[in-house]
Amino acid sequence: MEHISPVVHKWGLDFDFAAITMILVTSIIVLVLALLAVRGASVDKPTKMQNFLEWVIEFVINIIGTTMDVKKGRPYLILGLSLIMYIFVGNMLGLPFGIVTEAHHGATLFGLELDLKGEEEAHLAWWKSPTADVAVTAALTIIVVLLTHIEGMRRNTKHYFKHYFEPYIPFLPLNLIKEVSKPLSLALRLYGNIFAGEVMIGVIVSGLGWVGIIPLVVWQGFSVFVGAIQAFVFVMLTMVYMSQSIIHEEKH
């Protein structure tokens, strides 16, 4: 049976408690990791965690460095760091286990009735990667893409407005499609990869049973790889879009 999210309706909103829980858990893990690294941080005697976080910082600086001048990209360093840590931790969270409960019609959560999509009985998945929810990836993408547009207007005003009409005015629709496709591809790539990984885990576990342990381990290892790559790609593309937006390339 398909797993559905535990959703309750209130004030005209749909509260997906699995997503909310996972967003909170991921945020707290990232925050605790970062705070642990900073606790007791020093200039000449870095702790292990500090070394780790500095390595992450260097990594993101390198990503920025491949797309634009590091000095220009400096303001986006903390955004990139937060994104890569949040997405990586989020991608990893769904891998090790899942929590599924069985609910019957009329079950409640915090005094609110769960939406079982009209079924009498449903399996609710409480634990998943937050990034396996398209709303989450869309929110992250919107932040990034809005920021690229704002920064483009602010720091590269003339070229920003001109680039919609390049090389000729009739190219406006194409340029607009390009601008729309950027957030779509960014959000859907991350969502698709992680969601597919979780679906595959679900299929292996429920379909193969004990025989599935070996393919499960293999698939989880691959998912770790995919999760890391997707976190990297998301931040990389963020910086690429940012550099396209704020840097006016001289024509030769």
Partner: protein, 160 residues
Amino acid sequence: MDINWTTFGIQLVAFLLLLWLLKRYAFGPLLGIMEQRKQLVQDQLANAENSRKQASQHLEEQKQALQQARKEAFDIIEQARSTSSKQADDIIAVAKNEASRLKDDAVKDIESEKNKAIAALRGEVGGMSVKIASKIIEKQIDEKSQEQLVDQYLKEVSSK
């Protein structure tokens, strides 16, 4: 595929909050520390460069001082050598002078002694020859001639 806009909004707010918290409490301080470390490393590199320069300068100075000392030592030895040879020459010259003076003195002494001896000998010989002559005369002169002689002396004395 439908987007749960509530989740969307929650995620939006949550991520912005996370971003702010991380910036405020984690990455801000850590980046500051990294900047400080960069500064520290640069300072130390500059210090090392300075020390190296100073060391090479000192080495150069030491070398020059050594060269100077060597030259001075050589000069001193040279000077001592020339002084010693000069002194030796002086000593030899003085000794030669002394020797020749002594020789001259000796020659003079010998000369004067010889003269003295000759003079003394001459006196002696005169006296002896007088004595011999007087003895011969005593034997040979008789009364008569003695008288004559006495007379002659007397005459001589009286004529004076």
